[in-house]
């Protein structure tokens, strides 16, 4: 059974359709890269999947016991102030909020989970450091740890490597792939970097205000669309 399936999905802002005909489904452990130019509807799809924007047509269904609020989300860096006073541990712990339910305080289980995910990202020794004093790559790892605190099944990453240097970019991609392979966590990543997308992902969704392509990464490489998008260079 699919962990996520979208049928005839359509989104509009004030009556103007910005994305339509989206129809795809993912199984547990898939790694989907969403590509497309600016304004192609990538961010809108993300907001829809997170339940921050209601679809104007079609449906989004979650399977395998996944609830919409149990998605591990890594937002674009622009949404967070870089000078915010918070320790690494505090940021990671805030990812456990969804499992709090009606309780008001974090318990031992949540604190342990936060530490475990920091360890998974290889940054447990930074836990008392200030988030604002970290490098861009380290900050993204903290946010990834927070996203992992929020989910057991599905990660949703919105342009996670924007602004990182090539080394930090490579490290982050490897970490994400590792989580995907070792823990069988489904990954959906919005990316500008189509070369890396094809290298790491199992599936590609290409948007251009509607769904232009959905299929495996291997099939995408052979498609004429990929060739056009890359400006004639074969992958």
């Amino acid at each position: 059974m699919a962990i996520l399936s979208c049928e005839n999905l359509r989104f509009a802002y004030e009556g103007v359709t910005v994305l339509e005909d989206v129809q795809f489904s993912l199984n547990q452990g898939d790694y989907l890269c969403v590509v497309g130019e600016n304004g192609s509807g990538k961010s809108t799809l993300i907001r829809g999947l997170l339940g921050l924007k209601r679809p104007d047509g079609g449906s989004i269904r979650y399977g395998e016991g996944l609830k919409q609020t149990e998605i591990g989300y890594l937002p674009q860096q622009t949404g967070i102030q870089r000078d915010f006073p918070a320790s690494v541990y505090e940021v990671a712990l805030s990812g456990c909020l969804g499992s709090l339910g009606r309780r008001l305080r974090f318990g031992a289980a949540e604190r342990e989970r936060a530490l475990m995910n920091l360890e998974r990202m290889g940054i447990e020794e930074l836990k008392d450091r200030s988030y604002q004093a970290l490098s861009g790559g380290q900050q993204q790892r903290v946010l990834l740890a927070r996203a992992l605190c929020a989910t057991q099944k599905l990660l949703l990453l919105d342009e996670p490597v924007t602004g990182l240097d090539p080394i930090a970019t490579g490290e982050l991609y490897n970490l994400i792939k590792l989580v995907n392979l070792c823990d069988n966590i489904t990954v959906i990543m919005v990316s500008h970097d189509i070369h890396e997308a094809v290298r790491y992902a199992t599936h590609i969704l290409h948007l251009g205000q509607r769904q232009l392509f959905f299929g495996t990464a291997a099939a995408y490489k052979e498609s004429s669309l990929a060739r056009r998008f890359l400006g004639g260079n074969r992958l």
Binding site: L52, T69, P75, Q81, S87, V91, S94, D128, R129
Partner: protein, 272 residues
């Protein structure tokens, strides 16, 4: 020492100290998310709305707190909406509302009782303004603000740090923003009598800014702001008693001094 004991033996001083400490605590705690979310102007706007409401309440011979608290709470939610709405200029809208509320207040006072000490006590605060029942109500309300803040602390942190993430995990971020705004409104009204409408917003902004120079974790900033706020309040009120200066302004000056010290310490630490 004897002089200090004598100061504490006055009933009005006891009331002022009790309410003042509680209100400074609330203001400092709420100030941290407000400053971090770039909502500092809302505190300022609320105090002006509070002045307007207070003036009208006293003109109509109504209980001041019972009228002012709900009016300012509604204004708080309204101001929050305005500042989030990108279609109109939020800053300008807040400035508009606060100066209009100030004008309404001044006109209604001058029509009924004339521009006298009453206005000045509203604007700049008075330590004698608290009646016995006011003090009791203030203590209860600020205890409620404190309790709510501490209960929802993990959620307030998450919403302040990253609103879209917390929305995605199912937190009703809008509700918590409104909660913060309403708690701020209550705090502003309670503090206004003593600190004055023109000075109360500094009680919210100063401790948070000072603490952010020194501490690097959210919990650290919150606790440091709370300690600084209470310390500066006590220092300011004690100084005002001995030097016979207005209480509100003295507290603000103490906050300013603390900010200067924190900024220096913070810079030295960064330089190392």
């Amino acid at each position: 020492m004897n002089a200090l004991l004598q100061m504490l033996s006055y009933h009005f001083m006891q009331r002022a100290l009790l309410v003042g400490v509680l209100v400074s605590l609330c203001a400092a705690l709420l100030g941290v998310p407000l400053v971090l979310k770039r909502y500092s102007m809302i505190g300022d706007g609320l105090s002006h709305v509070g002045f307007g409401a207070l003036a009208i309440a006293s003109a109509l011979h109504l209980a001041p707190l019972a009228v002012t608290v709900p009016v300012v709470a509604v204004a708080a939610v309204l101001l929050l909406r305005l500042s989030r709405n990108s279609r109109i200029n939020g800053d300008a809208a807040i400035a508009l509302i606060s100066s209009s509320a100030l004008a309404v207040g001044i006109v209604s006072v001058s029509v009924t009782t004339g521009m006298n000490t009453e206005v000045s006590s509203y604007m700049f605060g008075s330590i004698l303004a608290l009646s016995r029942s006011d003090a009791l109500l203030s203590a209860l309300l600020s205890a409620a603000v404190l309790a709510l803040y501490l209960l929802f602390y993990p959620r307030i942190f998450a919403v302040t740090f990253d609103e879209s993430f917390s929305r995605a995990t199912g937190v009703r971020a809008g509700a918590y923003n409104s909660l913060i705004a309403v708690l701020t409104a209550v705090t502003v009204v309670l503090g206004m009598r003593m600190m004055g409408a023109l000075l109360i917003s500094s009680l919210i902004i100063f401790p948070a800014l000072s603490a952010m120079r020194l501490c690097r974790s959210f919990r650290g900033v919150v606790s440091c702001a709370a300690a600084l706020s209470v310390g500066c309040f006590l220092a300011g009120v004690t100084a005002s008693y001995f030097l016979e200066t207005p209480a509100g302004a003295s507290v603000v000056l103490a906050d300013l001094a603390a900010f200067a010290v924190c900024a220096l310490l913070g810079r030295r630490r960064k330089g190392r």
